[in-house]
Amino acid sequence: MGIQQILFLVLAVISVITALGVVLSKSPVSSVLCLILTFFTIAGHYILLNAQFLAVVHIIVYAGAIMVLFLFVIMFMNLNTEGEPHKRNWLKYAGAISGGALLVVLVAAIHDTTMPNLQAVPTDVGLIENLGKILFSTYVAPFEISSILFLSAMVGAVVVGKK
């Protein structure tokens, strides 16, 4: 078992445990903190997969911007003190069973397939130089359109929040 496989297993176990913590923890603030840990382990997976630029962007965007926004909203509404209202139990079990059934179906569908192994040799696809060349030559139109999307989202957030 190579060092890459050991690192993958450690990161995978941490990400699954913290993802379960997001769903199962009682207070929203600990859910947010668990989700931040999950995002850091996913960034570790990106580095293992030679997507260095995506790993850095992932940490900046998710842990730096999105989760701070979540924490800000939770603290702003002071949700941490009151518990979640009691939900009927059979509904929870139904949700867990349907999610688990989907998991079983997908795993059963995938585990017989044959796919190539990931090589341990690094590739330079994920470096910022190569990605920048692709982004600003082939995909420059979607890039500009996404800026319009951001603008409209910003205007929409302000309009919705001002009412």
């Binding site: 190579g2 496989q5 995978a12 990400s15 699954v16 993802a19 997001v22 769903v23 859910s31 989700l35 999950t38 995002f39 997976h45 990106y46 997969l49 997507a51 995506l54 962007v57 965007v61 998710y62 911007a65 979540f70 909203v73 939770i74 509404m77 949700l79 979640e84 209202p85 939900k87 509904l91 929870k92 139904a94 999610g99 998991l103 995938i110 796919m115 192994n117 990931l118 090589q119 341990a120 040799v121 590739t123 696809v125 190569n130 990605l131 692709i134 982004l135 082939t138 995909y139 979607p142 996404s146 999307l149 951001f150 989202a153 929409g156 957030a157 302000v158 919705v160 929040g161 009412k163």
Partner: protein, 105 residues
């Protein structure tokens, strides 16, 4: 290392996200579970990008550009969605989604 490992990890994270959406009633936690599902898909896409690059294809970076655009859309979605949740909290003083049943009758 087989690429199936990453597929299994993504499937597990995605199903945890689905379970969270179905089980919880707090709108913010449901929103975070949606983010978790988006990240599971992103991880899958980066794994396939590495597989494609190992096979010697030159356009393997396109998958990572796609992941980049998914992050852009996720950030825009969070801004609008959290504004909607704040507005809902102002109107009902709660983020419980079971209170939002006015279309029921």
């Amino acid at each position: 290392m087989p690429v199936q490992y990453y597929i299994f990890l993504s499937v597990v994270l995605f199903c945890i996200g689905i379970m969270g959406v179905l089980m919880r009633r707090n709108a913010i936690i449901i929103f975070m579970c949606v983010e978790l599902m988006l990240n599971a898909v992103n991880l899958l896409m980066v794994a396939f990008s590495k597989m494609w690059a190992d096979a010697g294809h030159v356009d393997a970076g396109a998958a990572q550009i796609f992941v980049f655009f998914i992050m852009v859309v996720a950030a825009a979605e969070v801004a609008v969605g959290l504004a909607i949740i704040v507005m809902m909290y102002r109107n009902t003083h709660s983020v419980d989604i079971n209170l939002l049943n006015r279309l029921k009758n």
